[in-house]
Assembly symmetry: C2
Homo-oligomer: 326 residues x 2
């Protein structure tokens, strides 16, 4: 069965790493049809819209989407796209690789971030001169859905500990609901879990990431904690992510458009290629996904490496080396 894959490179290094991921997907034994769409700063400049209706439709109609990065318009592109694919779960693995510089070389974490509500519900108002409010929304349904997804993920991927992050000592009703709902889900699984205040968790993750596995988080907490973890493993150049919905999904590197190095052909394609591996897994090409991951790990270990990892290889050379190993 042919799967249609929407490809949205976006801005900056998105234009360089997205074709790299497509090269890799073309090199594995999978039946994909690629359709390309525009989004980001450049298309907004040209058309007034960061996310044109055609691109939205492309993503809505595809079986899965690969998204590169956007610049200034990142929020105007990625938040609606997550919505278009109906994504309720943002999956963000953060692991350190042997031989690469990392603040904490023993990191192997997966953040399961609620992807629809919290402060991202985005209802804001100016209720008086100089007084503004934002309505943070937490629902039992979304909390249950993300917790079920997180515990299932942990079981399927061999993690034996799960942490539920929250700030229910301050956000008593909202994070209280998130916490108690997630705990009830946890109790129905045969797996150890813990709960952690997200501030204390930030400290512990920095000091002892090896004590954690899967971390289930409200939306904004997941945003911050997963970036923190990116710092532990050596930066954003290695972190893929999946935005998973009921019957659609979008895959993107955690990094942005990196305007400082864009156009030089030296962007690290690893995060994007690992995002493509998550896409393969999602579409039930598990063996191919494993092969891609292994190829990326091999190249990370032995080179060639892009400048961000201390090498002097180009995006194309790294991509070719990954394809060679498949």
């Amino acid at each position: 069965m042919t799967h249609e894959i929407a490809v949205i490179p976006g801005d900056g290094i998105g234009q360089e790493v997205t074709p790299a991921a497509v090269d890799v997907l073309e090199a594995v034994d999978a039946d994909f049809d690629f359709v390309e769409g525009d989004a980001g700063d450049a298309v907004r400049e040209a058309t007034g819209e960061a996310l044109p209706a055609e691109t939205r439709e492309l993503a809505a109609d595809a079986d899965a989407t690969l998204f590169g990065a956007a610049g200034e318009t990142a929020a105007d592109v990625i938040l609606p796209l997550r919505d278009v694919v109906g994504s309720f779960a943002n999956v963000r693995p953060a692991r350190s690789y042997p031989g690469l510089d990392a603040v904490q070389p023993d990191t192997d974490l997966v953040f399961i971030r609620e992807n629809t509500e919290g402060v991202y519900a985005g209802i804001e108002a100016e209720i008086d001169d100089g007084v503004r409010t934002l309505t943070r929304v937490i629902t039992e349904d979304a909390s249950r859905e993300i917790a079920e997804f997180g515990f299932k993920y942990a079981k399927q991927n061999g993690f034996d500990d799960v942490t539920i992050a929250h700030k229910a000592n301050v956000m008593r009703e909202t994070d209280g609901l998130f916490l108690e709902t997630a705990q009830a889900v946890g109790d129905s699984f045969d797996i150890d879990y813990d709960t952690a205040l997200m501030d204390a968790l930030a400290m512990h993750l920095v000091m002892h990431p090896e004590d954690y596995g899967v971390v289930i988080c409200p939306n904004l907490a997941g945003d911050m904690l997963s970036d923190l973890a990116a710092g532990l493993v050596g930066g954003l150049g290695l972190l893929p992510s999946a935005n998973v919905g009921e019957d659609n999904a979008l895959f993107e590197p955690v990094h942005g458009s990196a305007p400082d190095i864009a156009g030089q052909g030296v962007a690290n394609p690893s995060a994007m290629i690992l995002s493509a591996a998550m896409l393969l897994d999602h579409l039930d090409y598990g063996d191919e996904a494993a092969a891609v991951r292994e190829a990326v790990e091999g190249v990370l270990a032995d080179g060639p490496r892009t400048p961000d990892l201390g090498g002097d290889a180009s995006t194309d050379e790294v991509t070719a080396a990954v394809v060679d190993r498949l």
Copy 2:
């Protein structure tokens, strides 16, 4: 002039480290009158109230308050106490000390955390079955006040870079107001400043804390980022904090009541003694504050050390060593 200092040890190791800080304050040449009050789990158990009215009044009437820690009831104690002293700024230095194990030994940061609003405004509601909201509040006044405090702090303490943390790409109106207000304040100071999305900042702080100095944050962002920084310097045992108001203030270690080691007499008193040094600074005993800090640094470098820092000294031995150096 005699200053009245309210002393609220609270629970767990608060009972051990607070007397240590009082010992140090009694050893310096300052005219203090100490009055003690109860708060926390134990007093709630006994009276039904975590923060009795008398303790509130003690803090309200004193020139400054020293608070130790509270257990389960932490939020019920510390949030009202911050309010009682009219604290708008939470000052949280995080630095690593030579000779101590730290994830990032080059850390010297001060978080200036807005201390009155954001999600801590705490207006929550159940608007439907399983649907709850929290109203996050950001005002221009509080944003200006914290930014002015932060930039002044940076100037007075010799920091030459300031970062304004925010998430205005998602919380456009509320953090937008925080950001633009803080930027306007920054423009009126003769000091370099930068702005940073708080997720990206979390990553950069983990990788390169040496690139940052003073970080001005909305309330919850400051809560998380300062705990993250605690992780960088080796844990909460070393981090003091000040809750500063117009004409009152409260000083507390960033750590909690540590029930696992409470009652053994081995809690590290450094964070609490450094909080007392911030109190001295606040009451214009600048030389005495500097002397206390130097004494703590000397003991951290040469010992004796408590078990959390790899030593086997008691709280009392460390405190005596600090007093000895004064």
